[in-house]
Amino acid sequence: MPSMNIDTTFWFFDRISEDNLCLLYNGNFSDEITNKLIELSEYNISNNLSLTKMKKKASFLMAECFQNIVRHGEIIDGKVVDYVDEGFFLTKNWQGIYYITSGNLIETTKISELKRQLEKVNSLSKDELKQLYRDVLENQEISEKGGAGLGLIEMARKSGQKLDYHFSTFDDKFSFFYNQIVLKSTDVSFEDNKADFELKEAIDYHEKMVKNNILVIHKGDFSQDAIFPVLKIIEENLQKENKDEVSKKKIYHILVELLQNISHHCYVENDKKEGIFLIGEADGYFVINTGNLIQNENVDNLKKHLDILNNLNGKELKELYLDKLRERNLSEKNGAGIGLIDIARRIISPVNYSIIKIDSKKSFITINVIA
């Protein structure tokens, strides 16, 4: 199966570099994972003053999206149980606008009924929606699915906009149902200001993720509060993969080192420590890419350090690690050296890297490892 290569990181970074944050997830939606996705999104919202007012609304809408993914997953019959909870989720903040996109599989034969419901919801005014909500609550028997109709009505009511949706064929039996909600921090009405990020683009990202077997992409802040939910999401996925304890811990360790490296060493612009992180799978291994800006003057040293590591064998790496451990210098900056050495000892690939010069001050570095 194809996996992401080193250029995939810049492909995404280039497209989402203007975003304050962007979180993409393509995979299984257990309760634990949806909770962590919401926690991370809420953390991201709390960190952005212009968004804090919409935190409650955004959380509600995210939860509603997840319910759609999981609930529709449950009705799929045993034959296709492999991707029963498979889905796609995106949250993104660009200036004062917050986007929530979700995608889940539905049986292709059910599209026409869902479309009918979506069109009905989209044709109603605010008051009519409220009335419909009441009618459904009072009169309609709650279906086995738990009344997806109510979910759609609530999404339209809470977001105050027409539901933006799209269907794409998945295989001969299933299709992806995508849905995007756009929240704005100001009271601009949605009619006179069309979303700048189209649902079509989100679907492009998802397709790229599926094609490259990518599980999570996170662009944004790499402080501890942002790192922990990401780690938890990966741990949950490792659990599902039935990886042995040794591999699980190894991957966890590599992730911690790489993510903390970004937070300690990236180029700080407007007080923001930013980077991008991607994790995917290939042939039973995990592929981890990180990307961040660095000052041009640090490029040569980092290159030298990585080239040295890539030319050492296991025994030599261990000796270098122990030498660094014994060095008396305890500054945080020196931690990176030892972190990368320890990573190099535990991966099956070299520490691949690529550096792209952005301007006279900074460059973008991608690190790619397979473990």
Partner: protein
């Protein structure tokens, strides 16, 4: 008497107990602090005082689930400080615990053992 140092563990910082009076010394849990220097600073301060008059037999119990590489350096420095107790003619040792099958923590312990002069026991839980 040097007052005890006890720090509650969190998701990213270890539980710390350095208690001269009851002769208890323990580092336990996870260590991947956002700011490693800041977290370990009070520990080094405490050890500096302790070294002036250490107990006759000091055993430091390390029972770590996970620690990152910048913590690895700090932990090494703690061991180096404890080694100084030998110069007083007093006994000192490290007990390094690891979960059965936890290759990472076991390996880290073995590495410390090879580069330290302090009695170092690896204990499988």
């Amino acid at each position: 008497m040097l007052t005890k140092l006890e720090i509650e563990g969190t998701r990213d910082t270890a539980y710390i107990l350095f208690d001269k009076e009851n002769n208890l010394f323990e580092i336990k849990g996870n260590s991947l602090p956002e700011n490693t220097n800041k977290f370990f600073e009070p520990i080094f301060d405490w050890i500096e005082h302790y070294l002036q008059d250490p107990n006759t037999d000091t055993n430091l119990k390390c029972d770590l689930e996970y620690f990152n590489s910048s913590s690895a350096k700090m932990i090494y420095q703690i061991f180096i400080e404890f080694e100084k107790i030998l110069e007083h003619g007093n006994d000192v040792s490290i007990s390094w615990y690891f979960e059965s099958g936890d290759a990472l923590i076991e390996e880290k312990g073995m590495e410390y053992k090879t580069i330290l002069n302090i009695p170092f026991n690896l204990i499988e839980k």
